[in-house]
């Protein structure tokens, strides 16, 4: 069954999702975008086409947001560097980033060896959450909780840096 046909069937759900996800008035346009990208008659079956479409819609929203943010950041950096010129070498920024990276690694270790391990396996080595749960002999929800702790600590660290 073509993905486009499923878009038609799932149209109200997808529109509702896109609207809630921040598309607002553009939900219809974005669904149209999705429609064009999912050309008709894909013979290769997607395991769960409905979920596949929702994920494509989620990614569309993330990419939109990210390209918007990076455009803003670039414009900001551009003004920043033309204002400050040589006083603000890019190398200094990287040195700061490396200092912060060390601090972030310290924060993760401070959450205990298991949280640190789960975060590293998942985020840095790319292992799936069920695989990590099996390796450690813990439940999937324990893995989720460990990741949540790590994310929370990193978000707190970001807030701290932002305030500096």
């Amino acid at each position: 069954m073509g993905l486009q046909r499923i878009i038609l069937e799932q149209r109200p759900r997808l529109l509702r999702f896109l609207a809630a996800r921040g598309a607002g008035d553009e939900a219809e346009d974005l669904l149209q975008d999705l429609w064009q990208r999912m050309s008709a008659a894909t013979t290769q079956p997607v395991a769960d086409p409905v979920s596949y479409l929702f994920r494509a819609a989620e990614n569309l929203m993330r990419d939109r947001r990210r390209s918007m943010m990076s455009r803003e950041r670039r414009e900001h950096d551009w003004h920043d560097s033309s204002d400050r010129g040589e006083d603000h070498p890019q190398g200094e920024r990287v040195l700061i980033a490396r200092e912060r990276l060390r601090e972030a690694e310290g924060v993760l270790l401070g959450l205990g060896p298991r949280v640190d391990h789960v975060f590293r396996r998942c985020r840095l080595e790319g292992a799936s959450q069920p695989a990590i749960a099996r390796e450690l002999g813990i439940s999937l929800s324990s893995v989720e909780k460990d990741l949540q702790k790590a994310y929370r600590a990193l978000a707190d660290l970001k807030a701290k840096f932002d305030a500096e």
Partner: protein, 319 residues
């Protein structure tokens, strides 16, 4: 716990659950977003914090340090691999470039990146070169303002000095920096340069071509007539941020970029090469992840045979 914190916890859990490819509670997620006007903002806030963390963990361990003294092999490098987390972390994995330096004893030094690797090289004058995967450049410490791009793609951020011009040679052509930031691709005999900031002079001399921000120049073969076009200057060198930005590009060009960035060949089948694409592709952790995400956006399907990928229009799959 303030309500923002509670909302952030819930938002994080959604982001974490969504990482699992079998996640299917989209209605639950929609209902959560709708249940409070601040939920969407908290969710975006969580995604932004994760983007930030992702950038942080991509910080090159040794970028901007003085170029190390030539010796065989390099120090062990950490490899940061990020798993799939939809678009959020798909920009992920910066395989930090391993590097090799050849030509000891004060001669030209060669820097090589493997497939999918990135490497930042700080030059003595404060200029910087970021190498994309599968790239080889050489520099001579005795002539620190001259870089030869033998193969691949590099983003140059040059400290401009009227008295000492910065020169890049690529595919037999000479590029003279008259400003700050430009990207050069040299691949299969073709060369393409795009300028983000400042200006670049192509083949300085009587027939020189001046390229300003947003200008791109391509040469299909060594000595061929250069063709100048306009590009989105924000897209120049965007591969460094693990994304590829396009404005009405042919999929032939997109396939070349994908191949260079995933480190595996991408073959164009059917009429895919003539299709066009405008938008952003995020680079993933693995070739498969990158292509799985790119496929639906490009309207093509990627199939692997060994290490070679074939790109076929989705609409051609119905036979």
């Amino acid at each position: 716990m303030s309500s923002n914190e509670e909302m952030d916890e819930a938002a994080r859990l959604w982001a974490i659950r969504m990482q699992d490819p079998s996640f299917d509670d989209w209605d639950g997620f929609t209902a959560w977003l709708e249940s409070h006007p601040a939920h969407l903002a908290r969710y975006e806030h969580v995604l932004a914090a994760d983007d930030w963390a992702q950038d942080l963990f991509r910080t090159p361990p040794s970028a901007f340090e003085p170029a190390p003294a030539p010796h065989a092999g390099g120090p062990p490098r950490r490899r940061w691999a990020w798993p799939a987390m939809g678009g959020l972390l798909a920009a992920s994995l910066a395989l930090l470039a391993t590097w090799t330096m050849l030509g000891h004893d004060g001669g030209a030094q060669e820097f090589v990146t493997g497939p999918g690797e990135h490497r930042t090289i700080a030059l003595a004058d404060g200029s910087q070169v970021v190498l994309n995967g599968g790239t080889r450049i050489s520099l001579d410490p005795r002539a620190p303002r001259a870089v030869a791009l033998a193969q691949g793609e590099a983003l140059f951020t040059v400290r401009h000095d009227e008295a000492r011009p910065f020169v890049v040679t690529a595919n037999g052509a000479t590029l003279l920096d008259a400003g700050t930031m430009f990207n050069v691709v040299s691949q299969n005999g073709a060369m393409r340069v795009a300028v983000a900031e400042g200006a670049v002079i192509y083949e300085p001399g009587p027939g020189q071509v001046r390229l300003d921000p947003g200008d791109a120049l391509s040469v299909s073969a060594r000595g061929a007539r250069p063709v100048v076009s306009r590009v989105n200057r924000a897209a120049v060198g965007s591969w460094q941020q693990r994304q590829l930005l396009y404005d009405d590009a042919t999929l032939d060009d997109v396939a070349l970029d994908l191949a260079r960035n995933i480190g595996q060949p991408v073959r164009v089948a059917g009429d895919a090469g003539r299709m066009r694409f405008t938008g952003a592709l995020m680079l993933g952790d693995t070739p498969r992840q990158t292509l799985d995400r790119a496929g639906p956006l490009l309207g093509v399907r990627f199939e692997a045979r060994g290490d070679v990928w074939t790109m076929t229009p989705t609409h051609a799959m119905s036979q």
